[in-house]
């Protein structure tokens, strides 16, 4: 396996914080929601970042790779075109499904942890990889409910998906935190069971609790427990890139900078602020 490029601390680029992102002096990587980019008309702000050497990674959210139905070839072609238009070093998508039976869920839904789901994920991922010129990283999602037919625990399921697809891992420590907290399992045990050498990059995000359930909202501050998980992950093997995802209710710039600095400190990367 070729070495994954490392960029230190990155941030999810969103139009609402484009000015903030552009003003980060040490930034070397951003991620952009792939479906929001027209491959024929890349936003000027992203082109400007690329010109100063910042890598731009498209993050697909709507392919539904874990769906039993074959992935829509138009969505595959579009993601490949976005990756090419951005000159992306790699591309990411989710271990999830977002539609079934002709109905859109409007959210990333967890797969049943079964061999049948592993096979569906492998078939669709192969269809995507056939059209991509760059590596693919797959992200396990925050699962707010478990399927009754689950056969495997999360670590075994994810390992089988990675083995069956040959994909890299986009490890979201906030999703690990959310799933383990909501299931009452040990997040450190899950981290320890995942292959560190497959990690392309790491997601960090905030969340909040309602009615006893932790929600990975991306609109709240990053909890200290999530940063602790990032520290534990780094102690095993430093992730090449660690990226903050913030999708709304944007805090003042100083608070966002402080979160980026805390992520840098926890992951042993230089501050980008």
């Amino acid at each position: 396996m070729t070495a994954v490029p490392g960029y230190g601390v990155g941030i999810g680029w969103r139009p609402e914080i484009a000015g903030f992102v552009a003003a980060l002096p040490g930034l070397r990587m951003v991620e952009v929601v792939a479906e929001s980019v027209d491959p024929g008309a890349v936003p000027d702000a992203l082109s400007a970042l690329r010109e100063r050497g910042v890598a731009v990674v498209p993050h697909g959210v709507a392919l539904s790779l874990g769906g039993a139905a074959p992935v829509d070839p138009r969505r595959v072609d579009r993601l490949a075109a976005v990756a090419a238009a951005l000159g992306a070093p790699y591309v990411s998508e989710h271990i999830a499904f977002v539609r079934a039976g002709g109905v859109e869920a409007g959210h990333l839904l967890p797969l049943p942890r079964t061999r049948e789901a592993v096979a569906a994920m492998a078939a669709n991922t192969a269809r995507l990889q056939a059209e991509l010129d760059v590596p693919l990283a797959l992200e396990p999602v925050a699962a707010f409910l478990d399927w009754p037919e689950d056969e495997l625990d999360e670590a075994a399921f994810l390992t089988e998906v990675l083995d069956a697809t040959g994909a890299l891992l986009l490890l979201d420590v906030a999703n690990v935190y959310a799933n383990c907290r909501n299931r009452g399992t040990d997040p450190l045990a899950l981290l320890a069971a995942l292959p560190p050498e497959r990690v392309a990059y790491v997601h960090v995000a905030g969340g909040s609790s309602h009615g006893g359930i932790y929600h990975d909202t991306h609109t709240d501050a990053v909890p200290a427990d999530v940063l602790d998980l990032l520290r534990a992950l780094t102690a095993r093997r430093q992730p090449p890139t660690v990226l903050l995802e913030r999708d709304g209710r944007y805090p003042p710039a100083a608070l966002l900078r402080a979160e980026l600095d805390a992520i840098a400190a926890a992951s042993g990367h230089p501050a980008v602020t």
């Binding site: 039993a68 539609r99 079934a100 039976g101 109905v103 859109e104 869920a105 079964t114 409910l145 037919e149």
Partner: protein
């Protein structure tokens, strides 16, 4: 898995249907977690719509999520624009749409038009050798101008210029 159990596709479809209220809750899931997931998805859907239709959300005030959550179940999610369009039209029909939200709806009609609208070839010309040309002309026309109406708000667009008036 036993031979009689439904396959992955059927189970996924049942889960999506249950979560969007287009079908019953599927068997076997923890009821409390399922209800929490359904509520979280509905809240997210409302937030997405509010982002695209700020005046519509403001028009509903603090009851926005509650009103949207009463409307949305059973309607397949169509994305923020389409969901907001349909919800606004329903409030308009019920006489509940305020003036600012009506202006927003009329302006959206003039700018982007009805959601999911694809310029169809006229039925009598569908197989005509010029069907493609007709479609292109229609699309060009819709790019050049637009018209929208919601109650007493009327919007007219020429190119990028938009005029909105309220009829007395």
């Amino acid at each position: 898995m036993s031979g009689t159990a439904p396959g992955l596709g059927a189970r996924q479809a049942a889960l999506v249907a249950g979560l969007t209220g287009t079908g019953p809750a599927p068997a076997g899931f923890d009821a409390a977690r399922f209800a929490a997931a359904r509520a979280a998805l509905l809240a997210k859907r409302a937030d997405v719509v509010a982002g695209v239709w700020p005046e519509l959300a403001r028009d509903c005030g603090p009851r926005w999520r509650e009103l949207f959550a009463a409307w949305a179940p059973g309607r397949p999610p169509g994305g923020g624009y389409a969901d907001g369009w349909a919800f606004a039209r329903q409030r308009l029909a019920a006489g509940a749409l305020g003036p600012a939200a009506a202006v927003e709806l009329a302006a959206a009609g003039a700018r982007l038009g009805r959601p999911g609208r694809r310029p169809p070839a006229p039925p009598d010309r569908a197989g005509h050798p010029l069907a493609g040309t007709w479609r292109r002309v229609g699309r060009r026309l819709r790019g050049a101008c637009g018209y929208g109406r919601a109650g007493r708000a009327v919007a007219l667009r020429l190119g990028r210029r938009l005029w909105v008036v309220r009829r007395p």
